[in-house]
């Protein structure tokens, strides 16, 4: 019954398929015409970055003693590896802006080789190898342990300095070193700056202490590495929560692909859960929240890691207002850039002006990677790798994400940065804005008030 099909591809057939692909592309473009903001934003990024950077570039050109003068920086090739597409692309969404700004400031001295991991652990290692083959002097990376671990491990093998952030330090450290935290660095060639699970647990407890509710927690820790780590009865969050007097309703590690949470919701309702916590990617949290509301379960406090970091994701939930989370960086951080002198507020405004989108938390961390890199290059005065690595190790710099000092952390070559906490509220300028409730690790950050219960 199979029809005799010609297997040889004629030129006509080939052209036909090519035309069809072209048609598909045209269709996609047509569908997205009204969303022209995105491509337009990309094209304007460079221009706007130039505008904001204008004062400093001028200063550099006239060789005044501005801190951003480029003449004392050795010409260097720097690799930059972050997830720009795929499931982790949210974490890399501010990078185009950051790179445009750095290129406009230091393009004469620093050649940036930019790589996308495509949210793939294997590819992260591969692109790092490509960078090393192209002769980079330094590699910068960030965006969850799935990025920092393969990049740092590859750099370690090739003995190339590597700076990383945007990954809680424990999973980063433990996986590179292959053992629990100790008196040795994770790797000789890697320096890392971010916060750790201990900061996050403390921020959660501080948030909940402000809420006048029964101390019953419903936990949504999934079966992925994050969920396993957070929910681990010995090294995860449960011991700290229990010590603080909370009862934990934990129905086990579920598959993150699950589309039905009715069993967990029923169990939370039966146990009168007042606080829901967990670590959930945005689509999973959205599924849970919609079902919970349909089943008439609306707890007064929902504090969730991972899924509530980005205003863009919060806007897609059935009920975004009131959701609380850990917060790594805001436009109100009491910090200044060591490169441009911009405050956190200036940086955020420049981003909004350039992209038309609200600022997101990776902006400060992306910028700070370059602050530490350029400061280290300047102090090293050379791109000789051992000397550069040594200079990175001596960093003591006030950056957009606070003071970075690799000799003051809980393990060597690690700097822990301040973490605060708060919740999303409906904003005036953008649909959702951050309301800060907890600033224990950064007392200079303004607090908007105590945690508000979800009604």
């Amino acid at each position: 019954m199979a029809e005799p099909n010609k297997r040889t591809t004629s030129r006509r057939q080939f052209l036909g398929s090519a035309a069809a692909v072209g048609l598909g592309g045209g269709l996609l473009a047509a569908c997205s015409d009204d969303e022209g903001a995105a491509p337009a934003a990309t094209t304007t990024t460079a221009a706007a970055a130039t505008t904001t950077a204008a004062p400093t570039t001028t200063a550099a050109a006239t060789t005044t003693a501005a801190p951003s003068a480029t003449s004392d920086i050795p010409p260097a090739k720097v690799g930059f590896v972050t997830p720009r597409t795929g499931a982790l692309a949210d974490l890399g969404q501010t990078d185009d802006f950051v790179l445009a700004q750095i290129r406009s400031l230091y393009g004469d001295r620093i050649e940036i080789l930019d790589k996308d991991t495509e949210t793939d652990v294997t590819r992260a290692g591969e692109v790092t190898n490509e960078l090393i083959a192209e002769g980079v002097d330094l590699v910068l990376c960030g965006g969850t342990p799935d990025t920092t671990i393969p990049v740092a491990a590859t750099c370690d093998l090739a003995e190339v300095p590597c700076l990383s952030n945007l990954a809680p330090w424990q999973p980063h450290y433990i996986n590179i070193k292959g053992g629990p935290p100790g008196p040795e660095p994770a790797s000789v060639w890697n320096h890392h700056f971010f916060w750790g699970l201990e900061h996050m647990t403390q921020v959660y407890l501080d948030l909940w202490a402000q809420a006048d509710v029964d101390p019953v927690i419903g936990a949504l820790w999934g079966g992925d590495p994050d969920g396993q780590a957070f929910g681990d009865p010995e090294v995860g969050q449960p011991p700290a929560f229990e010590a603080a007097g909370y009862t934990i309703i934990d129905d086990g590690r579920f598959d993150l692909g699950t589309q039905d949470f009715s069993a967990q919701i029923q169990s939370f309702k039966d146990n009168d859960v007042q606080i829901v916590t967990g670590v959930l990617p945005p689509p999973v949290f959205a599924t849970f929240q919609a079902q919970a509301l349909q089943q008439d379960f609306n707890p007064p406090v929902m504090t969730v890691a991972k899924g509530l970091l980005f205003s863009s994701a919060v806007g897609s939930y059935p009920q975004g207002a009131g959701l609380s989370s850990e917060i790594w960086w805001t436009s109100r951080f009491p910090t200044r850039s060591s490169l441009t002198g911009e405050t956190a507020h200036d940086l955020a405004e420049a981003y909004i002006a350039a992209t038309g989108r609200n600022w997101e938390q990776p902006l400060g961390y992306g910028h700070s990677l370059w602050e530490v890199a350029i400061d280290s290059l300047r102090r090293a005065g050379t791109t000789e790798k051992a000397a550069l690595n040594e200079a990175i190790g001596q960093t003591d710099l006030d950056t957009q994400v606070g003071n970075v000092n690799f000799n003051a952390g809980p393990v060597p070559q690690l700097s822990t940065q301040p973490l605060i906490g708060g919740q999303w509220v409906e904003g005036e300028r953008f649909p959702f804005e951050l309301f800060i409730a907890v600033n224990g690790f950064l007392p200079d950050h303004p607090v908007d008030g105590p945690l508000q219960l979800i009604s």
């Binding site: 997205s32 009204d34 969303e35 597409t85 795929g86 689509p283």
Partner: protein, 292 residues
């Protein structure tokens, strides 16, 4: 009672699975065409709805009036311009082409819409439900999804069994060479079938977008469930698709309850097990025609 709730919620979820599986089942039934871009097409449909709703200020349900014809035309055009060259005894070309199409769609969506999670907002109905008993409440959105799935499949079944077009579909499915001798333009017919498949997957995508948030790379996960529903129900069988979707949904619901009650197992896991069990005992699916 919680077990009954698990089954009820599972049936609701099954409606969405069945809706997803419809287009896949139709394309396979009519032309033995395996579409690996099916999940990505659903996400594409949801993103088209995002554009339509934001540009025209329409309710996502109303946006279907525009999204469905757009996707139908896209399916028709793609089949005529590309997929028809891969239809034949060997399933590999279609798999390769649609795999590539899936990659193209994902990256085109990333370029145009960025990696942000989106949702389709239909207002307060999203979180409203009907209380059946004290312990069981059925959300309006899942209920509407199930009703739409049944309507779409019923319509498809009536079309296949009662209309001239349906007779032609069945004819080319059984024996394309003889159908051609009888004056049926099978290439054009394939394009119509793909257009209908795209239209149904666009509906599924919009309902997915209303139910949960979605991003450009969420397609492949949806493809897996659609495939399972089709295989469980029987390749190319309309009612089998519905039954496969519902069975898969119930397996997810019960699996979730097993996990909460006994501390192990999970919804998708039980779904995969049901899929494997059907594949092992009835490879043609519960209502499938015996394949050659």
């Amino acid at each position: 009672m919680e077990w009954l709730n698990a089954v009820v919620q599972g049936i609701m979820l099954g409606g969405l699975f069945a809706l997803f599986a419809t287009g896949l089942s139709l394309a396979f039934g009519v032309m033995r065409f395996v579409n690996l871009a099916h999940g990505d097409l659903a996400i594409l449909g949801a993103f088209v709805a995002v554009s339509v709703t934001s540009a025209l200020g329409l309710n996502p349900f109303v946006s279907l009036v525009i999204v469905v014809p757009v996707m139908l035309a896209a399916g028709y055009g793609l089949q005529l311009g590309a997929f028809n060259f891969t239809v034949g005894a060997d399933p590999l070309p279609s798999i390769l082409v649609t795999f590539g199409l899936g990659v193209v769609i994902q990256n085109a969506l990333l370029q145009t819409y960025s990696a942000d999670s989106r949702g389709l907002d239909v207002g307060s109905i999203e979180v409203e439900s009907i209380a059946i008993t004290d312990a069981i409440a059925v959300g309006w959105i899942p209920l509407i999804t199930l009703a739409v799935a049944i309507t779409v499949l019923l319509g498809l079944q009536l079309m296949l069994s009662r209309t001239a077009l349906g007779r032609a579909f069945r004819a080319v499915s059984d024996d394309p060479a003889t159908a051609r001798l009888m004056g049926i333009n099978d290439r054009n017919l394939y394009a119509v079938a793909m257009g209908i498949a795209f239209a149904t997957v666009a509906i599924a995508g919009v309902f997915l977008g209303i139910r949960q948030s979605f991003g450009p790379t969420d397609g492949p996960a949806q493809l897996l469930y659609a495939f399972e529903a089709v295989v469980i129900g029987g390749l190319g069988s309309v009612w089998g698709t519905l039954i496969g979707g519902l069975l898969l949904g119930v397996a997810h619901g019960i699996g979730g309850q097993v996990e909460v009650s006994y501390g192990y197992g999970s919804g998708p896991l039980l779904g995969h097990l049901v899929f494997l069990a059907v594949l092992a005992t009835k490879p043609a699916g519960l209502l499938g025609r015996r394949t050659e």
